[in-house]
């Protein structure tokens, strides 16, 4: 059973324990999100991310982008081509980026947040307002459970 209130408290790019993926997906569906899976089994750095994103997220783009700006612009186009107004990207095995790919993960996180901001408005040519969220699913202490326990206040 999802917890929409829990989703509302989470950032555009969030980390979630892979064990809690079913609960997360249920909550997203409840909120009307279309789910895009990014298989991170082989993703360990920038280039492997570009290749995998081209297959899983960019609608099978012929050639993978060669730059962050190319990737993010392609994602912008891919989202513009869809009809949904809420899209969630679930990137599994994201913990692999923590072993030598942390900096690339930070850039990816920043760029995805930029795209989420760009597609949230039609001011600069995006065809509709879209809510984009990205979830990094993995194992270990960097990936908390879902739903998260509400903060305790004294």
């Amino acid at each position: 059973m999802g917890h929409p209130a829990s989703l509302a408290r989470m950032s555009v790019v969030s980390c979630v324990s892979a064990e809690h993926r079913p609960a997360l997906e249920a909550a997203l569906r409840t909120e009307g999100y279309a789910l895009l899976s990014l298989d991170g089994t082989e993703v360990r750095d920038k280039l492997s991310l570009f290749r995998q994103a081209a297959r899983d997220v960019l609608s099978g783009q012929a050639s993978p982008p060669s730059s962050w700006d190319g990737l993010l612009d392609s994602l912008w186009q891919a989202l513009a081509a869809r009809d949904e107004t809420a899209v969630a990207i679930l990137w599994n095995d994201a913990q692999q980026m923590l072993e030598g790919g942390l900096e690339d993960l930070l850039v990816a996180s920043r760029g995805l947040a930029d795209v989420a901001r760009q597609v949230a408005t039609t001011e600069h040519g995006f065809p509709r307002e879209v809510t984009l969220r990205v979830f990094l699913l993995g194992a270990g202490p960097n990936f908390p459970p879902f739903p998260r326990e509400p903060a305790r206040f004294r």
């Binding site: 050639s63 700006d69 190319g70 912008w76 186009q77 920043r110 600069h124 040519g125």
Partner: protein, 423 residues
């Protein structure tokens, strides 16, 4: 006048003055006791004389056929010849005398004067003079026309040999001196050959100079050629960067190795093997490569300075070249760029695709801090060959300078951007 009143002649009839002839005087000098003969003895005497004369002419004729006619004065015991033989004999003697004087005039030296004895048709000399001639004749061979001609030809041949040998000697000596310039190529055979040719030259053995000269010339020329090549290599060696140089240090290391190996070879191999030309070719290649790289670097440095002044250096270090719109390949692309620039300048907002969105410059292919943004992005109309929305983009900085990409920021080729407006 004799004591008995007779008139004395060398030969002939003796008669008392105013009286009948008394007989024939035997041809003897007066001191040897000639006598008056009776008519019978006189007749016998004259008959015997005639027989002797016939006999003398016969012997003279025999001698003539052997070519040994002897010209002797009758007082020296010579034979009496017939008038014809005598005339011929004297003519031949005169001819021989003329010939001898001619030869003497030609030689012009006392040593070549020919001592001719009486049996060779020469003049009759006094005993003391004859002894001197005999002495000289024993030392100097009498010249003949044939020997003189032979001497003349030998002199000409020697002169011609010297003329031929001279340039070879000079050239060999010059080359030999040049070959001595090198401290590396000093063939042991060269000084010996050079000395040999000098000695032969001094001794006038020009034929041997000619025989040795070409070998020396060739050897010296090879040494000189090798020297020049080695000098050229050493001259260029100074242009090589030190062996610690990251890029080109290996060039100097290679040269050190090869030159050391070359110097360790016997001199014949140094000159005749193709090792030295190979080293020379490699050195030319190295120097050319270094010069080319330096030239490129110099050009690059100047371009970097200008690009930095104009704000065209990307965060990743790439120089973003300026490009005029008119220089793009197709009219369609030129028009697409022009149209997008017009829309940008006119403040148009309903342009298809992304128009004025933030551009993060995450990859640093534009000037400024990667990921810091500060650019606006605009789609440019795609070409007919592209799937929508195509790869053409403008990225405009806060100063209004326009960077254009027709490769989707470098995804489909290079360069990632051109600087097309604002410079």
């Amino acid at each position: 006048m004799r004591p008995n009143g007779a008139v004395h002649g060398q030969s002939g009839v003796v008669q008392r003055a105013g009286a009948e002839p008394l007989g024939t005087l035997i041809a003897k000098p007066p001191g040897e006791g000639g006598e008056i003969l009776s008519p019978e003895d006189s007749a016998r005497f004259r008959r015997e004389r005639r027989l002797e004369e016939v006999d003398a002419r016969r012997r003279a004729a025999e001698a003539d056929t052997r070519g040994t006619l002897i010209a002797q004065d009758p007082t020296a015991g010579g034979q009496i010849l017939s008038p014809e033989d005598s005339s011929r004999f004297r003519r031949e003697r005169r001819l021989e005398a003329v010939d001898a004087r001619t030869r003497a005039a030609e030689t012009r030296t006392l040593d070549t004067l020919i001592a001719q004895g009486p049996d060779a048709g020469g003049r009759i000399l006094p005993p003391e003079a004859r002894g001197k001639r005999t002495e000289r004749a024993g030392k100097v061979a009498p010249p003949t026309p044939a020997s003189q001609e032979r001497d003349r030809l030998e002199k000409i041949a020697a002169w011609e040999l010297q003329v031929k040998a001279q340039p070879i000697f000079e050239a060999a000596r010059t080359l030999g001196e040049q070959a001595g310039l090198s401290n590396v190529h000093k063939p042991p055979r060269l000084p010996g050959l050079l000395a040999s040719v000098k000695e032969l030259w001094a001794a006038g053995k020009y034929g041997e100079v000619i025989a040795d000269g070409p070998a020396l010339q060739l050897l010296a020329q090879q040494v000189v050629d090798a020297d020049r090549m080695l000098a050229s290599i050493h001259e260029r060696y100074a242009e090589l960067p030190p062996s610690t140089d990251q890029k080109f240090g290996v060039y100097r290391k290679n040269m050190d190795t090869w030159l050391a190996a070359h110097a360790a070879k016997p001199w014949e191999q140094q000159i005749h093997s193709d090792g030295l030309p190979k080293i020379n070719n490699k050195m030319i290649e190295y120097v050319s490569t270094i010069a080319g790289r330096r030239e490129t670097e110099a050009r690059g440095e100047a371009a970097v300075v200008r690009a930095r002044q104009e704000g065209r250096i990307a965060a990743d270090g790439t120089i973003i070249d300026r490009k005029e719109i008119a220089t793009f390949a197709t009219q369609e692309e030129r028009q697409a760029i022009t149209d997008a620039l017009g829309a940008l300048a006119g403040g148009q907002r309903d342009w298809p695709g992304k128009w004025g969105e933030d551009h993060g410059n995450h990859e640093g292919r534009l000037p400024g801090t990667p990921g810091a943004g500060n650019y606006r992005e605009y789609y440019v109309r795609k070409g007919p060959q592209h799937a929508a929305p195509g790869p053409r983009r403008f990225c405009v900085n806060r100063s209004g300078k326009v960077f254009y990409s027709n490769t989707h920021y470098g995804t489909s080729g290079r360069p990632a951007f051109w600087a097309i407006r604002g410079w």
